[in-house]
């Protein structure tokens, strides 16, 4: 075919076809797995923390194209951020970085946010000292 038509924009398609950070982290510092009640998609994000920063993030996703692209983009965006910064991460960043998602697919980016937060919470549960610090830092601007 001369022209190719795509359901999602080129950025989303790229992240769907060539997902970044797909996989698991062996002995991860935090793992979050969440499911979307609406459609049944499931997303799992694992993170490695080094010096209070996200050194690595990986995902596995059972879900549609935009769910896969959202988790790919979320893991990409989050690498290098501090735990505190990561706690303020929102799905809007994913949507913007992807150049937009169809309205009915916004919930996929929410799922990515939730999976990341779940991973961070898991990390903090395992590392109460980090959690305390994060909460403290968080409290300042509030």
């Amino acid at each position: 075919m001369s022209e190719t038509y795509t359901l999602y924009n080129p950025t989303v398609m790229d992240h769907f076809m060539n997902p970044r950070n797909m996989g698991d982290i062996k002995d991860a510092d935090g793992v979050g797995e969440v499911g979307a009640a609406a459609c049944g998609d499931i997303m799992k994000i694992s993170i490695r923390i080094k010096d209070g920063k996200i050194a690595d993030a990986r995902f596995k996703t059972f879900g549609c194209g935009s769910a896969i692209a959202s988790s790919s983009m979320a893991t990409e965006l989050i690498k290098g951020r501090t735990v505190e910064e990561a706690m303020n991460f929102t799905n809007q960043e994913v949507v913007s970085a992807l150049g937009g998602l169809p309205p009915v697919k916004i919930h996929c980016s929410v799922l990515a946010e939730e999976a990341l937060k779940a991973a961070l919470e898991d990390y903090m549960k395992r590392h109460p000292e980090a959690a305390a610090e994060a909460r403290q830092t968080e409290a300042v601007p509030a």
Binding site: E33, V34, C39, G40, D41, K44, F62, I68
Partner: protein, 421 residues
């Protein structure tokens, strides 16, 4: 890249012969069938011919039993509401299969808001109704029974002739939606005992923009689109002459080619299903096995641990056009109500893919699809947390349970904090 179109349930290309027949009616014979002059009388003749051709495809007694509408949806709406409104004084109860097309289900829901009641007949896990259930659901207030011929999603062929006999005994008209079968399976309205039958040529190499409703003269039917007196006063509006002409020719060709179409697609259907289940683990066919209870054009699959939209997109990127009943492909985020009605596990419904065959498909196409789809499944499973959790023994397979781990649905409910459906 090879291009394999496996979505004949959604659309078919127009046959060149059909297009050629339609052509003069666009720029040359453009008259309105209501006009009394040359231009009108000419297309009136064309209209009559198309009525005869479409009547012949379903073995209707007379072309006067054929009404042209704009599509299958309008035909369903007219059959359901047109019969309901015509018999309002007799009763306000309907009986329909739980797996009718949304154009039937939603017409019924609309009537329910206006005071009608409806009994929905459940189906077996294969998607088939039990005719006795229909007979049992009929009350003195029942004015219509609706049972489709072939299911649009899972290809199940319903026992309509048996239902027709029971309806005749009870004196209740039967409406058979043949949108998913016409042009691919023989249809005989008299053998079906059907008072109403609908189908659309765009499903069998005819044009979009026209639907057909057959109505036996004894069945009462009123118009639902009001206006002029076209179509014997039962469908107002300027007739879409080119499309109607095309419908006639497509019907004629379908009738002639029916045996060849059935043989060709049945062969490819078997090859495709055999290939897929040989090369892919944890894959399930929804609906009856290929054979007398399944239309030869349809394969409805559930591939475990991966989701349908992703499968569909990767197929498309590899030149393979397919459909899916997964909730992710629906605007309402709901799985196909047909998959719900057969009681399919939500995980399997999410992994749904619908492949519908046509005459242009070849054995080479099928082999390419098998090979390509196996790679797609592998790629998506590699990305799927469910596959990983299955392999680690955390969750079990629905298709081939090993007795280890919790169910996918249980797991999904836990991580989402809510049962899936």
């Amino acid at each position: 890249m090879r291009n394999v179109y496996l979505d004949h349930q959604a659309a078919t290309p127009l046959l060149p012969e059909v297009f050629d027949a339609m052509k003069p009616y666009f720029t040359e014979h453009y008259g309105n069938a209501s006009s009394l002059h040359q231009h009108g009388l000419r297309v009136r003749d064309a209209l009559k011919k198309a009525r005869q051709q479409t009547a012949a495809l379903i073995h209707a007694e007379s072309e006067e039993e054929i009404f042209f509408t704009s599509d299958g949806t309008e035909s369903s709406n007219l059959a359901i509401k047109g019969v309901a409104y015509a018999n309002e004084r007799k009763g306000k109860h309907l009986v329909v299969t739980a797996t009718e097309h949304p154009s039937v289900m939603n017409s019924v829901e609309f009537l329910e808001k206006q005071g009608w009641t409806c009994t929905r007949i459940p189906v077996t896990p294969e998607g088939l109704i039990n005719p006795a259930d229909v007979a049992a659901a009929i009350t003195p207030q029942t004015v219509l029974v609706a049972v489709h011929h072939v299911n649009h999603d899972i290809g199940a062929i319903q026992p309509v002739a048996e239902v027709g006999r029971l309806c005749a005994e009870k004196g209740v008209p039967l409406y058979v939606d043949c949108e998913a079968s016409a042009g691919w399976l023989p249809i005989d309205v008299r053998e079906f005992g059907a008072s109403l039958v609908s189908f659309s040529p765009h499903r069998f190499y005819g044009p979009k923009g026209v639907g057909i409703l057959y109505r036996n003269k004894r069945a009462r039917l009123v118009s639902i689109l009001h206006g002029g007196v076209q179509e014997g006063g039962r469908r107002a509006g300027t007739e879409n002459i080119p499309a109607i002409v095309g419908a006639g020719v497509a019907a004629e060709i379908a009738q002639r080619e029916l045996p060849a179409r059935m043989a060709h697609t049945a062969h490819l259907q078997q090859r495709l299903w055999d290939g897929l289940r040989t090369h892919i683990e944890f894959i399930k066919l929804n609906g009856p096995v290929p054979g007398p209870r399944r239309i030869s054009t349809n394969l409805n699959l559930s591939t475990e641990f991966i989701e349908g939209e992703g499968q569909l997109l990767l197929c498309d990127l590899n030149g393979i056009a397919v459909a899916s009943g997964s909730s992710c492909v629906s605007k309402s985020l709901k799985i196909s109500h047909v998959l719900a009605a057969i009681g399919l596990d939500h995980a399997l419904a999410q992994g749904n893919l619908i492949l519908t065959l046509g005459m242009a498909n070849t054995e080479e196409d099928i082999d390419y699809v098998i090979e390509t789809f196996a790679k797609i499944v592998a790629k998506l499973r590699n990305m799927s947390p469910m596959w990983e959790e299955f392999e680690s023994g955390e969750i079990d397979s629905v298709i081939a349970p090993r007795g280890i781990g919790k169910s996918f649905s249980q797991h999904a409910a836990e991580v989402s904090g809510k049962a899936a459906h």
